[in-house]
Symmetry: C2
Subunit: 274 residues, 2 copies
């Protein structure tokens, strides 16, 4: 049976997360249900990473094998026809049967969005954490960089997790510039109306790429960076938190709805038979 | 009683529009209800423009007078405390009692978003019209410019409307560049992942500023521009449609959920007593 890799975007607001669970609707379960209808048999779907309830994805990766002879475009159309509009398969490609989206991943990138203004945007309410009040973005940026490298991230793991090692490598940990102004808006903007015409100026975006992530790791990092941004902790505190390997020393866990799984990268070619 | 001008953003997905109606929940009605609770009397709220059911606003403008002595910041907080998160007052300022948000407006700007890709984005499904297939954006851009100037826009008005004149002046009618890439995304992007990391590249944005707009005018303009983009009509056809003053010659009415009232501009100062 051919094996397919699919790339999936979803608005996680109304779901219990990627992974099938006893209660609530999971994205994995909806895709497995669609594939069972398509293939006339149970089709297990493996995902690259579990996203928690309320977490979104721009490029989650999953894989499965089906017996029915369908090309990648037909697979995209068939799954999407069964999905709610909050879930969309963006692409499919045939891959080697040994491909595993989780164990084969080289790195993952997550984005976390903050809305730093007194009033929350109606359009970002499901996609950004509302953090009003002054934030020292330069301090947050410096603190974010301290997470880069290979570290024991035990302090940034949800309590109660059990994994064989809490060491991970972070390749990039960055706070993007404020004012995510679009080219289009810049081109046609009247200078006096920037606050309304460019509401994105309140959006702060954190993006982190690493070899792997512990449970709640990105959200605890963001909660900690906000402590620094609010001036409650100095920049160097992040280094001390890493060194302490103690969850209780890190900041609070940021809410799930600001988090996006952006991409999952794999080494080399994934072509079937390669 | 002091008169206040407020700027309001709303996600119109779940509302019957700005204006109070017999059936369904209107944004104006929710604000009037909040002000009645605040002021202990009926407080009529006048808006700058009616937005239809499903249409959004980044900067709708409204005005009202209240007896209770409250400053602008307190008014923002008090109204927002009563609103669902889909509706947010962004700002308030005291203005001269003669201020009228509709009759005093110098110009309004609307934006219409199209999603031009095979698969609709889960994140834009409530904020952009899904138009799959090839679009000749340069032709659409040229056609859009033909609408600039003072014209009789009778062909771009919903049938059954009755207004004293269908002449309006369009100051700018532009299709923005594709690839509304944010500065943040550009800064941290890996070059091989642009399709997923920059899903905005499928977003086409039309923006139009004019002295006033007829009912459904922007949506009929967009429906007509898409006819040109799909190659069903040549660029010059737009000029012929304007000249014909016949609704049946223009394109279809684009759906409401891609439309945003962006800003309403007023001449000079609005300061109270000025």
């Amino acid at each position: 049976m051919p094996t397919f890799k699919i790339t999936v975007a979803y608005d996680g607001s109304d779901y219990v997360g990627w992974q099938r669970q006893a209660n609530g609707v999971a994205i994995q379960a909806l895709i497995e249900d669609a594939l069972r209808d398509l293939d006339g048999r149970d089709v297990p779907v493996a995902g690259a990473g579990r996203t928690d309830a309320g977490v979104h994805a721009l490029g989650q990766v999953a894989a499965f094998s089906i017996a029915r002879p369908l090309g990648p475009d037909a697979i995209v159309r068939a799954i999407n026809a069964s999905m709610p509009p909050a879930i969309r398969v963006l692409a499919a490609e045939e891959v080697a049967p040994a491909f595993h989206p989780r164990f084969g991943a080289r790195q993952k990138t997550y984005r976390y969005q903050l809305w730093n203004a007194d009033v929350m945007s109606p359009f970002e309410r499901a996609y950004a954490w509302h953090v009003p009040g002054p934030l020292d973005v330069e301090a947050m940026r410096a603190a974010a960089r301290l997470l880069e490298g290979r570290h024991d991230f035990a302090a940034f793991q949800a309590t109660g997790s059990s994994v064989s090692t809490t060491e991970r490598e972070i390749f990039a940990s960055r706070i993007a510039d404020r004012g995510l102004r679009t080219a289009a808006e810049s081109a046609i903007e009247l200078p006096t109306q920037s606050a309304i015409r460019n509401p994105q100026s309140a959006l702060l975006s954190y993006e982190v790429t690493g070899s792997g992530f512990l449970r709640h790791m990105v959200r605890i990092i963001v909660g900690s960076l906000v402590e620094v941004g609010r001036g409650r902790q100095p920049v160097d505190w992040i280094g001390a938190v890493i060194a302490g390997c103690d969850r209780t020393r890190a900041g609070p866990t940021a809410p799930p709805h600001g988090l996006f799984l952006v991409t999952v990268d794999y080494p080399g070619s994934l072509a079937a038979g390669s």
